[in-house]
């Protein structure tokens, strides 16, 4: 009974909270720029508006173009079911679930890029080529981090050390005390992965529609109406997932009170959104050619973390 209830809360949070993060980011940026900015709930209004709109499809496109947003959203939701949120256990949890997590997100990327190429537009081809390149480099960073966590949780004596629940579960305090330096390196590099995977500054600029500088926005140029709503929602869920990863890694949620855990978790996720907003306000977008260097750098950083725990 208790598990069913907790799983229902999990699903409800995944379904409702993500767009709020986009609102918080925008509010933070507005605050930094000295503007009032759109209301925090604006992304919800946008979604409601888009879902009832009509659509215009390019003559070049096929079913793949319409299938792209569907896969993007479905894969993000599956990934969200694997990560433990406020409470210890995620609904979809098993030995090796972290690989499903990484690969299901990859599936979403596959179809988003394919849908972009389906329009036959040079711009969307460009965006999709960039997404492919950065995706390749971000994936090993994520995996190095998972390896470090697996090793650290083995050292901390967690029973299910090869699942997300085990790695980000109840013995996190112990994990930090066993190998704090490595955990910190993972945290930093995963924050970088969060920025890349969600196309935020300094890797991409979510605001510059119709410019050649960006990645994610240019891939969805031709989508509109309900399909665009699904893309926006899927992007929000993706941001939420990575924020949740970072929060679960940074804050051990080990008090016995479910309500307190959930509250702390949600505050943490919103704090990550504020952090992203701050990064976007104080940094400029990097030159495209520099981005791979930064990603490789993040990978090497977390590889150091792995060396630290392995030579323990």
């Amino acid at each position: 009974m208790n598990t069913i209830l907790l799983n229902m809360i999990h699903v409800a949070v995944v379904l409702t909270v993500p767009p709020l993060l986009l609102g918080v980011i925008n509010k933070t940026k507005a605050w930094f720029a000295g503007r009032r900015g759109p209301p925090v709930l604006q992304p919800y209004y946008d979604l409601r508006k888009l879902i009832v709109k009509g659509s215009v499809f390019s003559e070049t496109t096929t079913w793949v173009f319409r299938f792209g947003p569907v896969v993007g959203l479905a894969t993000a939701l599956v990934a969200a079911a694997i990560i433990p949120l406020g409470q210890r256990d995620a609904p979809l949890s098993f030995v090796g679930d972290m690989i499903l997590f990484a690969y299901v997100l990859s599936l979403g990327r596959f179809f988003t890029m394919a849908a972009a190429l389906d329009t036959g537009s040079a711009f969307e081809g460009m965006g999709s080529a960039r997404e492919a390149t950065y995706g390749c480099l971000a994936e090993p960073v994520l995996l190095f981090g998972l390896l470090v966590l697996a090793k650290v949780s083995m050292m901390a004596g967690v029973s299910e050390s090869l699942s997300m629940n085990g790695m980000l579960g109840e013995s996190l305090t112990k994990e930090w005390s066993v190998a704090g330096a490595s955990m910190l390196l993972v945290l930093i590099s995963w924050f970088i992965v969060l920025l890349v995977e969600n196309s935020r500054i300094p890797f991409d600029d979510p605001n510059t529609h119709l410019e050649l500088t960006m990645i994610h926005e240019v891939m969805v140029l031709d989508h509109c109406g309900p399909a665009l709503a699904m893309i926006l929602y899927g992007a929000a869920v993706r941001l939420f997932i990575f924020a949740a990863l970072v929060v679960r890694l940074a804050i051990p949620l080990q008090s016995g009170f479910a309500l307190w855990n959930w509250g702390l978790f949600l505050v943490g996720v919103l704090a990550v959104a504020v952090g992203v907003g701050i990064v976007e306000s104080i940094m400029a977008r990097l030159r495209l050619t520099v981005i791979p260097n930064l990603l490789v750098g993040a990978g090497v950083l977390v590889a150091f973390g792995l060396v630290l725990v392995l030579s323990h």
Binding site: K53, G54, S55, V56, F57, S58, E59, T60, T62, F67, P69, V70, V71, A74, V78, A81, L92, F94, V95, G96, D97, I99, L100, A102, Y103, V104, S106, F110, M113, A114, L117, D118, G120, S121, A122, G125, S128, A129, R130, A132, T133, G135, C136, L137, E139, P140, L142, L143, F144, L147, K151, L162, L221, D222, P226, A227, P292, G299, A303, L310
Partner: protein, 624 residues
């Protein structure tokens, strides 16, 4: 011919069924025509694991060939091709059943030679002749090494049969391992011994490429698996070498693939990548054997063997669908194609299934085998040893990099060939492939989905093969069903498919509820976009090729545009094979100069060659 081959495949299936129902057969031993040697044949679980893809892919290729390589369209070589194709299949079936060195080598040579005649079927083309010669020379280098292996084995154990090598001196075993690695590795296409593979796969007819890539190169893997199974506790460095070679083949194979714009060369480089993944699994299993870790053995070996199946299915599926495209458009150049999704919907769909599967993405079969290998690599963290350090620290992130690069590469191919708008006259008359071509693709695609959604179905056979490989039954707690989340993979896949269906229906409902219109692609205000403005596969890959330029050494021909009204200029880029062009060719050229005087003996007279052999034999007998 085709009927005969299908009937043969049917008999093979009957044999497998008998094995699955009745368990291992007693070895069949026959007096061979060569004195002092007996031919032994036996079918065990490892043989069955390799027999299944041989039968599946060969049967598919034969049906596919009925329309792809019609006798009426290829009068000069149609019959020849089906003869050698049949012999190739038979040789492979004999190979996996052979239990002694002589019969094994016999089958191996028949396989190598008939594969040569299959590849060289269009020998009026100079490129084909060159590629098949390269294949034949590489293949014979491999056979030479295998002669060494089996001669050493016979010298050490006193028999040509496959018996345990316990008690053989470590130095001798190491030499045998290295020879086997070169011999079997050349056939399998492990980098840097892959030089023959891209050309041969590209020049052969597509259904032959499917058999070559799907099963022939797996015979190299079979040889390695069988060889290592004879050694009780292999040295740790064997596993480390295999893992390292696996990582190199995997990463560089896919990196080279990204640089290609010939669709079949590209698929060929992906074979090298997937062989890399299989060898990683094998390396992990060997390490587990050396260090006494049954869970690594089970996950590594099961992952490697399942990946053998998976690669056989999705790669032949990809070669079949690429073949349909080539059949319909008469070009292999990716950048000349485009928009085929509309004219060839079934082929496009099957290519997409193959592409998702080969990238190792859920819910298809590639994900399952890669998950096994990942889990094994993660398990290796639990042990404090240098080997585990190497395994985990390099192999697991390398596998992630391979996955990411494969996604990039297959989005590139699928997007350029099937999506967008057609680029030129080749796609004008494209038409959907006939039923005898799409039929085999449908069967292979169904296998990809089935294994991906319900891996529990294949687990018992894999477990049995692992037991055979280790020579003992693995304890219950370390069996595949206990160490791998077989049921959960199905749950995850079903959740994904369910969500896709629900969200797809919601989108469909919203789309029909509101008004819809069609228009031109939005090109940032440009009103007359043309297909030539699309991103090509070379432009898609440019950033990634640039990242790997230290290994790929791509060649660009880029003229400078100077005047205000410049003339027509041409740009092209090309990624040649560095091992072939920068290592093998110079060495061969050097040998050619040094041994020039030998040409005096090579006059092309059959009687002279026979005489040489006789003299050599007599000299050897006297020396003995």
């Amino acid at each position: 011919m085709a009927v005969g081959l299908l009937a043969g495949c049917g008999l093979g299936v009957a044999a497998i069924t008998q094995f699955l129902i009745g368990g291992a057969s007693a070895p069949l031993s026959l007096q061979s025509p060569i004195a002092a040697a007996r031919f032994t044949i036996e079918i065990d679980a490892i043989s069955v694991v390799f027999l299944v893809p041989i039968l599946l892919v060969s049967a598919g290729a034969v049906v596919y060939g009925l329309s792809y390589w019609k006798q009426s369209e290829h009068e000069e070589n149609g019959r020849r091709l089906s003869f050698w194709l049949g012999l190739l299949t038979a040789a492979m079936m004999l190979l996996v059943a052979a239990r002694d060195g002589i019969l094994f080598l016999l089958a191996w040579e028949v396989m190598a030679v008939s594969a040569y005649f299959c590849i060289s079927v269009e020998d009026e083309d100079a490129n084909t002749r060159q590629a098949s010669w390269l294949y034949l020379s590489a293949s014979h280098l491999a056979t030479l090494c295998l002669f060494g292996v089996f001669a050493l084995m016979a010298a050490a154990t006193g028999t040509f049969g496959f018996v345990s090598l316990t008690g053989v001196s470590p130095a001798l075993m190491n030499v045998m391992f290295l020879l086997a690695l070169i011999g079997f590795g050349t056939k399998a296409g492990i980098m840097p011994m892959h030089i023959w593979l891209p050309g041969a796969h590209a020049q052969a007819p597509s259904h032959v490429s499917a058999i070559m890539s799907g099963v022939v190169i797996k015979m190299g893997i079979y040889g390695l698996v069988r060889m290592v199974s004879l050694v009780d506790v292999p040295p740790v460095w064997w596993g480390v070498v295999l893992l390292t070679l696996g990582v190199i083949s995997g990463v560089l194979g896919v990196a080279f693939a990204i640089g290609q714009h010939d669709i079949k060369r590209l698929l060929a480089y992906h074979s090298i990548e997937n062989i890399g993944i299989i060898v990683m699994g094998l390396g992990l299993a060997v390490l587990g054997r050396s260090l006494g870790r049954p869970d690594w053995v089970v996950l590594g070996m099961a992952g490697a063997l399942l990946h053998v199946w998976n690669h056989a299915t999705f790669k032949s599926l990809l070669f079949f669908s690429a073949g349909s495209v080539i059949h319909a458009t008469h070009t292999r150049e990716i950048d000349q194609l485009g928009g085929l999704q509309k004219t060839m919907p079934a082929t496009a769909f099957f290519f997409l299934i193959g592409a998702v599967a080969i990238c190792g993405l859920p819910p298809l079969n590639g994900f399952v085998s890669e998950l096994f290998i990942y889990l094994g690599l993660f398990q290796s963290l639990a042990v404090e040893s240098k080997a585990s350090f190497a395994a985990a620290a390099f192999a697991a992130p390398a596998l992630a990099l391979i996955g990411g690069l494969a996604v990039a590469c297959f989005v590139k191919v699928y997007g350029t060939v099937f999506l967008g708008a057609g680029r030129g006259e080749h796609v004008q008359h494209a038409h959907e492939a006939s039923l005898s071509m799409t039929g085999p693709m449908a069967v292979l695609a169904a296998v990809c989905v089935l294994i991906g959604m319900a891996p529990r179905l294949v687990a018992p056979l894999l477990q049995q093969a692992v037991n055979t490989w280790t020579g003992k039954v693995v304890p219950e707690v370390y069996q595949l069903a206990s160490v791998a989340p077989l049921g959960w993979i199905s749950v995850g896949a079903a959740t994904l498919v369910g969500l896709l269906a629900v969200i797809g229906l919601v989108l469909h409902w919203r789309l029909i509820a509101a008004e819809r219109a069609t228009s031109l692609t939005w090109d940032c205000g440009y009103a007359a976009p043309s297909p030539r403005m699309q991103y090509t596969s070379s432009s898609f890959a440019e950033m990634l090729v640039d990242l790997f330029r230290w290994a790929l050494i791509p060649q660009k021909h880029a003229p400078r545009v100077r005047a205000l009204f410049p003339d027509d200029k041409e740009f092209y880029s090309h990624t040649p094979d560095i091992v072939l062009d920068r290592v093998v060719r110079p060495i061969v050229a050097f040998l050619y100069r040094v041994f020039f005087f030998f040409r005096y003996m090579q006059q092309g007279n059959m009687q002279a060659y026979l005489l040489y052999i006789l003299v050599m034999l007599v000299v050897l007998l006297m020396w003995r």
